[in-house]
Symmetry: C2
Subunit: 225 residues, 2 copies
Amino acid sequence: MTAKEVQAIPVPTLRRLPSYLRFLKKVQAQGRDVVSCTHIADALGLDPTQVRKDLAVTGIVGKPRVGYHLPALVEAVETLLGWNNTTDALLVGAGSLGTALMGYEGFREYGLNIVAAFDVDPEKVGAEIHGRPVLHVDQLANLASRLHAHIGIITTPAAEAQRAADLMVAGGVRGIWNFAPADLEVPDEVILESVQLPASLAVLSTRLAAALREDEQGEKSDGSQ
Amino acid sequence: MTAKEVQAIPVPTLRRLPSYLRFLKKVQAQGRDVVSCTHIADALGLDPTQVRKDLAVTGIVGKPRVGYHLPALVEAVETLLGWNNTTDALLVGAGSLGTALMGYEGFREYGLNIVAAFDVDPEKVGAEIHGRPVLHVDQLANLASRLHAHIGIITTPAAEAQRAADLMVAGGVRGIWNFAPADLEVPDEVILESVQLPASLAVLSTRLAAALREDEQGEKSDGSQ
């Protein structure tokens, strides 16, 4: 599949792929060889039509009344995700979030291997976090290109994030996973994916604030208590 | 605004509110009192029509050729987000991600105050993380209801997440911010917002894998090197 074809896959479909993979592997671990579209849909609370459409992007089609051949489907999803190859990543910003990500064992399952962290804090530079070295940011571009690290993870404060991205791009990083609450600019050929925690919290807290306001008004109009 | 009216606000609009707020506060800190829609749109790389539409959900309308009155707009955005009141939160899963979230100073700006963490690990229970106690999960429902904690944050492994959510709901938690890679079921009156790191990584890694495959094919067809 070309990069353009992958670009054309809807983002919600891409975002569901890990759930599918997790479920398919679970069924496979139970010793099964085949799984139906309806079974997947029921387990994940999705519509069967949606599941069929989502999984079609892998190029694998289920057999009518039988279902998907599990080994083929698992491999196709992993190949599409690129999770059957290990990708080396560099992380900039060795604070608490950066440290947490470096210690997260689950990333191995996703083929993500954080090989080094970078920071500007003299107390952090030279230390090790979860067995990986913390180097000075000045070495970032140079090391990224020497290691052919394809992914850069940004966990700096917002004000430092663009500089981190620029250094990654200079070092040949092709994909940036940004956790800083900042809007970054990168060249077209670099893939940028941001995890915006404030944006996610905004959805939760706006709805919660409205619900709590209603509770209060309900209590007032009750007149009691 | 009622909970139903907030429900009707598009999620992308809600997700952009923190960016607006950050920018509006920055302009305000520069001593300005008024900001135009175009100015906001340029700074955030958005379309002015989109900005006008997004900000209209706060009930504040800009004056033609003048713009928005900054103090009123900042207050309206903060009120809608519920970030001008502090909301107490409990966190379940005092691992590396939970610890990182507890240490994240930025949450104060969002009115989020994590008052305690819960875990099952005897080595963690009884300890303190960033000045907050780690308690046994068995105490969760009881403490949530005594403290009137409105938000629950789940940073457990996937297999433990549903149990954590059930205990939070039993304790009267009204909003759950879930970081575990699990699909949770909660009653309708509880607001659930999930930060799916694998889903985010899937978008990045699928596109990266496709781009890298193309690089390889390009090199092969070059014939050289």
